[in-house]
Symmetry: C2
Subunit: 472 residues, 2 copies
């Protein structure tokens, strides 16, 4: 882009929008960032509490790009693995990696969002406007209309381009969906499960009631509980359960007695940690779990979607925020690439198209991996074959740290390979190991190095077989 | 269903709606069938001309169920295989099966629709209403509002249940999409290609200008031409080409000279058969190619989608109409099953749910197979490895007719196995054969029986490997 003086209107000041605003301002653009909610920094709230998210290498790379990684790390609690809780209350730890430096972090969503808003606001070329909800987008002219939640007045902003970071319910995306001038591919897929948040409070002296350095899982087949630590000693617990058609489901959990009976049967050790279980169960909403995909992400070279507005995913790989931050990295790389080109090749239409061509296969991949991982978490983490596989992978990763990377590790800790590559390689590797274990071809008597050699050989062959069909 | 006197409102009198109306009337229900278009039997048109479709075993099974198969077969032209045309105008025939009795049929869409309307109208308990377009559906109360295209008047019909057979642009489905009382999963996925129809007219004495008993294909990688015969000696030709970003695409084919240059370069032998090519190219619209999936197919036990409204697919497997007719067969089987149950288990909500549980995985499968087949038709039919595979499969099917069924055969000629099963088995079989051929493990010197044994063994193993992961 020759003309850095262009005005960029970013709609949505959540995690993705705030980071994007900061980065676009660092690149020199005039940025206007508009958010429908009030400024979350004005509301009294503890940065260490409320909803938390998993932050890992891809997300950190995005924060690093914008120079805010160090600040963000101060809000992080490392989680080294999954702490699995069985029905009897027994626990066992399943590390995320056999390499010591590979772990994920629990971080407060509002805490991180405030940090990003502060950093963006400190830039002279960023204007942040709160309380204005987008009601209409004129895609061809990069004009958006907003309604002020306090004054109810309508206001219109015009820009050179609009970047839509307004989340899963994106108004910018809906404008594309309703536009009859181009074909818009779109999918929204809901799981049959919903989720509900409950709290494990800190102890009276601010300590943690259970292991701090882990993501806790109570896998129960159709339903599960997970818990992530907060800085203040509390944990945010999330119940994932079917809406209906199951022994225990949101449709039938309608009385305090039923809720208590359910939790005492399925999650007895967790019940002891949640003094306000019943109250919170009925106070807190039940949220849906959906995947959204669409294409094209941009229209008329005037508007482009980034983050959840383009690709909302279910939370089971802990990659939603990380994927959005990686969007900013990829978009930034595309801008770098086009900076050096002639003016015909660096218009926004070309840039948006190049961005989608580069990025979409990867966000499609993480969307599918996240749905797969739901089954893995609620069901498979409790099965012997799966546990054998994880144990073997841990051993490979610690014995052959430069050579073996599990699917989880490829997705979570290897930000230099794409989600799509991680998916392709990871799925084949999983299938190979599960089949070798199932067929008794990796007996205990076998040396680890021999096992590794066999897995590697069969993985290479299977990838070759897939490629013969794919490259035909 | 105890009470057969119930009123069924069927919205959409296309192929699926007409067959469904006929069948529901045969079961004894009071059927009201409402169509937005005029009665196509009133418009002068030759049943043998205009758009044609591929009718095969699954579709015939549906027609048989309603007692109209014999009549329909009179409108059919058997197509024994694909006649592949290369750039030099050379042709070679690739049969659909190594078994003699396995072929598909070209049939006129309006001709078959008229036949079904006549049969439905002959039932005393069917009322057919034309020229009324559905504008609104009250899903909870099975009430639909229609606008008369002539009088512009609005009219409301109430029924016990509504069956939506109003096609890819379904108004009933849109009512479900917009309903906030339940989560509606939905996807619309457009190919980057569009299509346009052109005619090969009959010769002066009503003969065919090229081989009648084949589906003609001119595969050219990114684009292709196909042609299906009509009873009057003509062929309906369809060009499939990218909208944009290609040497030849709809966006750039804007002058008669460019169109002629394109066809003369790519399809020289076809040009000679299409005297009105340029005129028709610019007169006829360019249509989009999309896949639609959704769930749930029903709401409140009061409305249910069948046919394209629930699962529109691209035309490349020739299964769109066949899938819709099979819907009627499966729905009928579900009704049979619930007929014998207690009244609590045979309400419409249960029936609709059971129908979707039985059927959706199969319509999802044929949707995906149809997209795969686009690549096969435009690209793979022209590659040596693919041609070797087809040749081998032909040999297997003629030598081992009770044992070997290609993916195409499983999908098209084996109506007693489901689309999902056909997809699962067919894809694995394809991958096995392609890899064995690619790796030189099926040399010419090998006996056919040995080749068959090897393919069978590797297919069984690969299905087992998939099952280990799937059944974990």
């Amino acid at each position: 882009m020759e003309n850095k003086n262009q005005k960029i209107l970013i709609i949505g000041a959540g995690l993705c929008g705030s980071l994007l605003a900061l980065r676009m301002a660092q690149r020199g653009y005039q940025v206007q960032l508009v958010e429908k909610r009030p400024d979350l920094r004005d509301v009294t709230q503890d940065a260490g509490r409320s909803i938390n998210l998993a932050l890992s290498d891809r997300g950190l790379k995005g924060l690093r790009l914008a120079g805010v990684e160090e600040e963000a790390l101060k809000l992080c609690i490392p989680m080294l693995g999954r702490m699995i809780h069985d029905k009897q209350g027994n626990t066992f730890m399943s590390n995320y990696s056999g390499r010591e430096n590979e772990y994920i972090n629990s971080i407060s969503r509002p805490g991180l969002n405030m940090l990003l808003l502060d950093a963006a606001e400190a830039m002279p070329n960023v204007e942040i406007i709160f309380n204005k909800g987008c009601t209409k987008v004129d895609l061809e002219n990069a004009v958006a209309t907003f309604k002020d939640y306090n004054t109810k007045e309508e206001i219109t902003y015009k820009a050179d381009v609009i970047l839509g970071t307004d989340g899963a319910g994106s108004v910018v995306r809906k404008a594309m969906f309703n536009d009859r001038n181009f074909l818009f591919s779109f999918s929204q897929n809901w799981l049959t499960h919903g989720y509900k948040e409950i709290t494990i409070p800190a102890t009276e002296n601010g300590g943690y009631r259970t292991e701090k350095g882990a993501l806790h899982i109570w896998p129960r087949g159709e339903d599960m509980l997970i818990a992530l630590p907060n800085l203040d000693g509390s944990f945010t617990v999330t119940l994932f359960a079917p809406y209906s058609n199951s022994d225990y489901c949101f449709d039938t959990l309608t009385t305090p007695e039923m809720v208590m009976a359910y939790f005492e049967t399925e999650y007895p050790d967790a019940v002891a940690l949640m003094p306000n279980l019943v109250e919170e169960f009925f106070d807190n909403p039940t949220g849906p779990l959906g995947t959204i995909k669409c294409s094209p992400w941009s229209s008329f070279g005037k508007a482009c979607l980034l983050g959840d507005s383009a690709h909302a995913i279910v939370p089971f790989y802990g990659q939603g925020m990380n994927a959005s931050f990686e969007d900013v990295v990829v978009f930034d790389e595309i801008l770098n690439k086009h900076d050096s080109k002639t003016s015909e090749e660096n218009d926004w239409k070309t840039i948006f198209h190049a961005y989608e061509m580069t990025r979409k296969k990867d966000t499609d991949a993480i969307a599918d991996l996240a749905v797969d991982n739901f089954r893995e978490m609620k069901e498979l983490t409790a099965t012997p074959l799966f546990q054998q596989k994880r144990k073997l992978e841990m051993a490979f990763e610690s014995q052959f740290p430069m050579e073996y990377f599990s699917k989880y590790s490829l997705v979570t800790f290897n930000e230099d390979i794409t989600y799509h590559e991680a998916m392709t390689r990871g799925r084949v590797q999983d299938k190979v190991i599960l089949n070798l274990l199932n067929d008794g071809r990796l007996p205990d008597s076998m040396e680890l190095a021999e096992k590794f050699k066999l897995v590697k050989k069969e993985t290479t062959e299977a990838l070759h077989d897939d490629a013969v069909v794919g490259n035909l």
